[in-house]
Subunit: 217 residues, 2 copies
């Protein structure tokens, strides 16, 4: 059977039920730890499922922040220092990653509270997260305030990128499934993945073709 | 071994290799067909992996569009009619969905070219996609031009929502894995998922807890 909800029915749902519903129906989401520090070097770590690709040249990524949430420390650190890191959550550490969403006070680092270790690499100001298979260091580029609901799109440019060599394919694709990256749905559901296939570039006059992954290594 | 690329190394990659690399490192992405029509009722269908959750009250979703791509028909239809639908891609139809990314001319509907059928529901102007387990009808709210690279964030408000009743959990979460929704990585890699667990709301003074899914049905 199919459920049909119109705008009024959605509005009338209890607040937490509506949040769980609307957060789940966008489809699967990326799962990343965003790590920052304040100008004194005090670290902060928060889990985000809204990281998106914005462009490859220049290499831009963005994420959505709700300023009334625990994420506010992430935003103020990015605005004050100009840098942040994005780190993929893996199956081995997703429960710790989830725990970073608890409302720790600003003087407590989620690194300590959630048993993560910092990794400082190649003079990058913001710390990376030890144990994450893929890590990206970004410089803050722009903050776009979405007036419709007070959320903020934060945009960064990739300055540094780390990933396992055995996951790199000869056409540039990084096999993030092989690297152990996991996916998220809703606010709190964590998922392993299993590749169906990669598809070749779609052309008007050809049927869809599966392609074989070839690794550089 | 770990690969390290800095900004210069990324810039120096061949164009398609850089696109494949940067598109894959954001993590897993949602996979949706966005369906529109022009004021004459001519339909258009395009695959997007950039749909994101923006807020639950009002229920807002967004997606990123590159105006120099095949996606330009989607944008002009949304701006002219004010409506669009977002439809989850399932394992049964992902190869067809991929094929919608071929550069069909504007007078050809991807519905026909890729063997999809339209479904018109509850007087909604934009067509839904038959065979997709979860479908969302949205009204156009705002277009935000991202000047850094010419991409556009399109924001819609949920007006109608359709999903299978046996996937709805008692706390509001829709089990999109049970509904057959799949995930995407990079530009062309399609993935089934397998739930690790759902986690309870994180609290500062408690260790992370797994929760059991309870369906309404």
């Amino acid at each position: 059977m199919e459920i049909f909800l119109d705008e009024a029915a959605i509005s009338n749902l209890e607040k937490r039920e509506r949040a769980a519903l609307i957060n789940s129906i966008t489809g699967f989401k990326s799962l990343n730890l965003i790590s920052t520090c304040n100008p004194n070097g005090d670290t902060n770590l928060a889990i985000f499922n809204s990281v998106i690709h914005l462009g490859a040249n220049p290499a831009l990524m963005g994420f959505i922040i709700r300023p009334d949430s625990v994420e506010r420390h992430t935003l103020s650190n990015i605005e004050e220092t100009g840098f942040f890191t994005i780190n993929h959550v893996n199956a081995e550490n997703y429960q710790q990653a989830h725990q970073t969403s608890a409302r720790y006070p600003s003087e407590i680092s989620e690194f300590e509270a959630c048993q993560y270790n910092t990794a400082y690499k190649n003079d990058f100001i913001a710390p990376y997260v030890k144990g994450c298979s893929i890590s990206i260091g970004l410089s803050f580029q722009e903050r776009i305030d979405i007036k419709l609901n007070g959320t903020i799109l934060v945009i960064g440019k990739i300055e540094q990128l780390y990933f396992p060599s055995d996951a790199w394919c000869d056409d540039g694709y990084v096999d993030i499934e092989k690297a152990g990256t996991i996916a998220c749905s809703g606010l709190d559901s964590y998922h392993l993945t299993k590749r169906l296939s990669r598809m070749s570039y779609a052309k008007v006059d050809k049927n869809p073709q599966e392609t074989v992954l070839k690794y550089k290594d």
